[in-house]
Symmetry: C3
Subunit: 340 residues, 3 copies
């Protein structure tokens, strides 16, 4: 399977076979982490990490990934680039992407809500880079999607449920109250990829906390294609019934962006804190089919989830976090392999 | 040719034979980019990049260069160093440079107009580092010169005109209007190195936009030494006549520094925008001898040059940008090769 | 000797035999710096450098160290991590340390006075990371201790006095006036490790500039265990009598933290500048037994020490600075060696 040169902005853009190939390679890379099997995959090659938003975890895992493949990832903050915008002079993305393609074997981009003036602009920026770059562009999380997280989630489920055991299992994607005003990217990616792999999906949240309607339509379609159900619940307790996997995480209200297009974090947090019943507890977990607990981290303990669950025997959060490393190595290896 | 330990603050400080040796090695490094021929040149060695001014492009190309030679370039911002100045306590440059020489195999420095209080202070700082460092000091662009850019320019001309075809060709170094208040370093380096390689030089700009008189004297001398002409024009159209290479780029007015020694960017941009006729257009390019278009990037499209020229068939801007990588690898290899 | 997995927050936590093993390896790594003997010790492995306080020198030496061992050190600034505090939501150190242990083979932490609200909180933070991390945690200087500096100091004394010549030699740890309001970590570590290696110790400072009483008690005990003396002097001249090693450096007054727990640097500097007689001069050095001069750098020349001493024949400051690289490589190699 030849994925050389392929961009990755959302797992939905890739075929199931392609995603499975990445996950199989990720599993092998986990086993062979310190052998020399993959030691020269990015030998002396460079991956650019463009952080419009800073992130310690994503930076750590991508930079480790490049190092372990024999290459190097550069931590770049575009705020010191003068890019052309509607209002200011500067370099066009076409020029920037063309030149970067002469230096690097791949480009990662992270751009979240607070760096754009409306939902979807991060996606547009990533698409523009992908249009002009002659090397693969990989989302390191943008306002709509987070494909590397989605792949790490599935790898965790393969590890803990068994590779062929996802079909028909129920994912509970449940909103958590809290004070971090979080992006839609991880939860949207989770429902998209889990439904691709044959899980049925319950999305639960307080009234009004809807996600991107186009994404939800796609999740429904994925479920239907696999003969599975997609359900919405507004009950923070009964939604746990019969879940096999519980993924409890805060996300922003669709009106988080103000009239000026600016994200109002303070107001958003105040609103989110009005729903303390939306926390994942041991009691609620007893309603499930001994569900796994997962989360993309960082976990907001005491808000999104109780310590007893997050640190409990069924929590797979550290394994999923580790999987970020493995899937990112696999993505790099498959998309950035150059003829030597 | 032994260049080990040699500093590079301006191409004028090096002999023509030395510059040619760098360019020949850069060409070979381009051909052998992913072979193992140069894989151990900086094996496990470190190059320090000191960015008094941030720069995405220069950082990308230097860090890639070190990686591709088997070493590593550290991105350092001296603002977290307490260096001694006239006004404040701190470490002397002597101490800093001596210690850095114990760790690294070379030091790059970037310091532009807005980090100094008068033109020439960046050059002084680079010279101080060079005096005390026991490893090569390489300018990554300072207020006066930009030797790596100059070498990348010539490599581009070798590639597109032919290595032995520069003598007698006409370089048009033409001011561009725009809103970026740019340094003199690239354009001064360009005229110095092009005249060394036997080109004749036309410098064109609105009245008053003079460059460093000492540099211009040297360019004249270089031209005379090669039996070529140096001409100044204040006509934004006729200056294109008979050019073989057009290099259109904004630069600051000599009075950009205010009475307080501070660079006044806003006033400088306002002044520069008064000359909209100083843009490189397809019409003007028709007056040339089918000239190449070059620029050190980032290009301020619509101000310095029309899209049709910057993206046209005779534009070599991406190749020249790529050459930054190759010449920087060659400079590192020749100046920092340690006995193993 | 198996030190795999061992944390290093203070040399006092390690046995003398362990410290000697590190120093012997550091000496061999200095000799074999560019041979391939240690080229794969951290092959493709990652060390995380967590800089709560920025530092150019410490970052340079740690990042070089990892590169020279075949690995890579990531420069991380936790200010972009949302860590849980008493006042704010965020990730727990347990979660952060657990995940980092999945990516990296070791974690370095630097946290000095101005990033904590009371002396000792930096130590607590390091201990918390050490408790939860499954990889070694190395102090890159925190408010109480600076073990890598202490080891570099001893390596310098081995080099200039002879490995078996430290016992009975006199260290003068003398306060220097100046304007940098410096941490206690280096000087406390110096007295702890020098007394471990059998030196007698004179601590000299103006009345009131006491250090951590618990640390001083330990230094006294170390001296007593070796049959050596610990003396305190408040005379900036006679304290030099019979010294074999002079280590002159500023440190903060114990009342530097204000009522609000904030470090008041301006007031601290004003106080320190009232003692101009506390400078290390050539005249004073004549009272010693031809003492070596040492300092962890950056040196505040003209305040802590005269140029003639800092740049004199008996100054070992650059060698000690270089030793930071060697001891850090040795520490990494011994604590982070993974089974391959």
């Amino acid at each position: 399977m030849n994925l050389a040169g392929k961009h990755l902005l959302c797992t939905q853009d890739w075929s199931l076979a392609e995603l499975e190939a990445v996950l199989e390679l990720a599993e092998d890379m986990k086993r062979e982490r310190w052998s020399d099997k993959y030691a020269r995959v990015l030998n002396r090659k460079t991956f650019f990490m463009f952080f419009y938003n800073p992130s310690v975890r994503t930076r750590q895992s991508f930079e480790c990934a490049a190092t372990e493949l024999g290459g190097h990832a550069q931590f770049l903050e575009p705020k010191s680039m003068r890019l052309k915008t509607k209002k200011s002079a500067g370099e066009t993305i076409e020029d920037a992407a063309q030149v970067m393609s002469r230096y690097a074997c791949g480009i990662g981009i992270r751009i979240l809500e607070d760096q754009v003036s409306a939902y979807g602009e991060g996606q547009e920026l990533c698409e523009q880079y992908a249009r002009y770059a002659q090397v693969p562009v990989i989302s390191m999380a943008h306002d709509k999607f987070h494909p590397c997280q989605g792949l790490a989630d599935i790898q965790g489920l393969w590890q803990h449920l068994g590779r062929d055991q996802l079909k028909g299992k129920r994912l509970l994607q449940v909103w958590g109250h809290g004070s971090l005003a979080r992006s839609w990217c991880s939860v949207q990616e989770s429902m998209l990829i889990c439904s691709r792999f044959g899980m049925d999906v319950t999305m639960a949240h307080p009234e009004g906390y809807d996600l991107d309607p186009a994404v939800i339509e796609q999740v429904k379609k994925n479920c239907a294609d696999n003969g599975q159900e997609f359900t919405v619940s507004h009950d923070p307790v009964s939604c746990y019934d019969d879940a096999d996997v519980v993924y409890a995480r805060n996300w922003m209200h669709p009106t988080a962006y103000g009239a000026d297009g600016k994200l109002n974090k303070a107001a958003e947090i105040e609103r989110a804190l009005q729903y303390p019943e939306w926390i994942c507890t041991e009691d609620k977990m007893r309603r499930t089919r001994d569900a796994l607990f997962t989360h993309p981290m960082p976990v907001d303990r005491g808000h999104e989830v109780e310590d007893a669950v997050a640190s409990g025997l069924r929590s797979i959060i550290y394994d999923v976090a580790e999987n970020r490393l493995h899937v990112q190595k696999a993505i790099m290896a498959m998309t950035m392999r150059l003829e030597e």
